[in-house]
Amino acid sequence: MKFKFTIEGLDCPNCAAKLASMMEKLDGVDSAKINFLSEKLTVESDLAEDTLLALLRKTAKTFESGITIN
């Protein structure tokens, strides 16, 4: 399933790429793309939306404070 979220609070395009590659390594996540300019996070995953969102938020938190995903 493909999920689309809004991701806000990222510092720079570099950080966006780093965070996306961290998310890609998560179990149950097939691919993760962050478009820094449009603040869109696109994730392909078999997980349920709630579980996935919680997982992504947790990852973002270990990466940098102040990132919100919706």
């Binding site: 806000e8 570099n14 478009n35 869109k40």
Partner: protein, 607 residues
């Protein structure tokens, strides 16, 4: 982003409130009081940076700018240079603040352009109007659109008439009239007169959503310059950290300098070497460029196309829908009977047809009696009954079939009444009004050769080519022929080759060319998907804007690279020799970053 900017500004001001008296008192010799004030300032400004540095270390990716800044400011405190330790953090915050402001501006320029598709629709259920999420509206629902509003979903008008502003999708500035039975695309604005429509597609399959989806979900394609910077910083940061460690140890071990001085120089060196100016200056220039293009109605999928488009040497155009509007107009009428009667008979016969040529013929006549017993003869035309007569409208094959004697050739449609030839009409695709000027201005920008690759008839293509002063014209092509010819052009060109098209058959060429540019208004989905950039309004004048923006963007990114590396190398040498202190080191880092960002913002202002 707004929240981040606010908190950064707050930190900067609060930090300064503690920093300024702290720095003055420290200068006057009140060490204890000043130290308390400076530590407070450091925590206000730097706490989140420290946390970021620790998080970086925890995920084993610790050589980033937060780490460098933390080491430098804490190190400065340790060797008794507290004022400079706070200054490092303060300046770093100022740099971040500017960077985020710049990103926000680029973003809002792009968002404004993408804001062509409303999220809600006014749905009529049992005579009651209610506002609903456009995504939940089912096909076949009745919606109402009021003056000043955008059509949220592709629909057909069932009552009411209005004028439509289609400029955001088609670039056509003249309002279009629409009435009962007409289809309206999502994204167009209703200027006057409310319309009630029935939706013919879902929100996500509607025109505006499809265009946006393709652009937003584009794979992030990075430019060579951006990739260079990413690779560069991967080697750069560990190298300078190593050098800094050597600088701290060697002079001290050799007994040349005191340990404080060695460490001070090493820390200053670390601050100078922070790669953030470099790492952000180039992407910022490209964001500026993408934003500038967006504000002119050109959507780029990434920064990688700026380089080839700035070196553009050849531009290859598709004809129908790209150089021409795809709408037909009458070029010549040959009439054996009274002309008005001929046109009225043609319109009657074509009454049911929605072919572009039929639409053109019908638009010539205000009132006509719809024909009866219309028979479609594929590949030939139609035969219908108008009043007491049998009218045949179609090609020469049909004329000979009904026994009409025609001594003419080269017309698009022929007509016969009861087997007797009554006239013929030549229709032509209308060349876009700006096309000639657009090609001329591209030539002024240094484009050496222009091409038309078209599947259309020889005479048609040649006449368009002549009208627009195009250098090379290829006609009667199959899609694979187009691709082959394009490959030949690419092989012969030393500069960039740009392909501009709109149809499904253009998709392979749009992918193959150095830069593929699709028409967003009339373009097919596959064309938009294959292209590197999309001209939302279909206006060809945007092509020269694109070239100018790309050139400026590249220039600025190069200036930024040279400037940032130059200043840094110079500052590193001065710092290593002990000629300048940490203040200048901070300027060489943050100052350069801010200047590079301000320079990048100039791309947004490209005319």
């Amino acid at each position: 982003m707004k929240r981040i900017l606010k908190s950064e500004l707050f930190k900067i001001i609060a930090g300064l409130i503690f920093f300024i008296p702290g720095a003055i008192l420290s200068h006057l010799g009140y060490t204890t009081v000043s130290l308390v004030l400076l530590i407070a300032a450091l925590l206000i400004c730097g706490l989140s940076v420290f946390i970021g540095a620790v998080k970086g270390i925890l995920r084993r990716d610790f050589l980033d700018e937060k780490f460098l800044m933390s080491i430098a400011s804490v190190g400065a405190f340790v060797i008794g240079e507290a004022t400079e330790g706070v200054a490092v953090m303060l300046f770093f915050l100022v740099g971040e603040f500017f960077e985020h402001k710049a990103v926000r501006r680029s973003r809002s320029a792009i968002k404004e352009l993408l804001d062509i598709c409303p999220d809600t629709a006014r749905v009529i259920v049992d005579g009651e109007e209610s506002e609903e999420d456009a995504e939940d509206v089912e096909v076949g629902s009745t919606i109402i659109v009021r003056p000043g509003e955008r059509v949220p979903i592709d629909s057909r008008i069932i009552s009411g008439a209005c004028r439509l502003d289609t400029s955001s999708l088609t670039g056509e500035s003249m309002p279009r009239d629409a009435g009962e039975g007409d289809e309206v695309d999502s994204g167009v604005v209703v200027l006057d007169g409310a319309i009630t429509c029935v939706t013919i597609r879902s929100h996500s399959a509607s025109r505006a959503s499809v265009v946006l989806e393709l652009v937003e979900n584009a794979r992030e394609r990075k430019s060579r310059e951006e990739n260079f910077i990413t690779k560069f910083s991967r080697i750069y940061t560990p190298t300078v950290t190593g050098l800094a460690i050597l600088m701290a140890l060697i002079p001290w071990i050799c007994g040349l300098l005191s340990w404080q001085t060695s460490v001070y120089r090493a820390l200053s060196f670390l601050v100078v070497s922070c790669p953030c100016a470099l790492v952000i200056s180039v992407p910022m220039a490209f964001f500026g460029g993408i934003g500038a293009a967006a504000s002119k109605g050109i959507l780029y999928k990434g920064g990688n196309t700026f380089s080839p488009i700035s070196r553009v040497e050849s531009i290859v155009f598709d004809k129908t829908g790209t150089l021409t509007t795809g709408e037909f107009s009458v070029a010549d009428i040959h009439s054996e009977i009274e002309e008005g009667e001929l046109l009225s008979l043609l319109a009657s016969a074509e009454h049911n047809s929605n072919h572009p040529i039929a639409r053109c013929l019908k638009s010539l006549v205000k009132d006509y009696t719809p024909a009866e017993n219309i028979r479609d003869l594929p590949g030939k035309g139609i035969i219908a009954k108008v009043g007491e007569c049998e009218i045949a409208v179609g090609n020469l094959l049909l004329m000979s079939e009904v026994g009409a004697d025609v001594q003419l050739d080269g017309y698009s449609v022929y007509a016969a009444r009861d087997g007797e030839f009554i006239g013929a009409v030549l229709v032509r695709d209308t060349v876009k009004s700006e096309a000639a000027e657009a090609i001329a201005s591209l030539r002024k920008l240094g484009v050496k050769s222009t091409y038309i690759l078209s599947g259309d008839r020889e005479s048609e293509v040649i006449s368009v080519g002549r009208e627009l002063d195009v250098d090379h014209v290829h006609h009667s092509l199959m899609p694979e022929d187009k691709y082959e010819i394009l490959e030949g052009i690419i092989d012969r060109s030393s500069g960039g080759v740009v392909y501009v098209g709109d149809g499904i058959n253009d998709a392979p060429c749009l992918t193959r060319a150095d830069v593929g540019i699709a028409m967003g208004g009339k373009g097919t989905d596959s064309a938009i998907e294959s292209a590197d950039a999309v001209i939302i309004s279909d206006n060809l004048m945007k092509l020269s804007d694109t070239v100018r923006i790309a050139r400026k963007t590249l220039n600025i990114s190069k200036q930024n690279i040279v400037f940032a590396i130059g200043v840094k190398v110079l500052a590193m040498i001065l710092v290593a020799l002990g000629l300048v202190g940490m203040w200048l080191a901070v300027f060489a880092d943050v100052g350069v970053a801010v200047l590079a960002i301000l320079n990048s913002m100039r791309t947004l202002k490209t005319k």
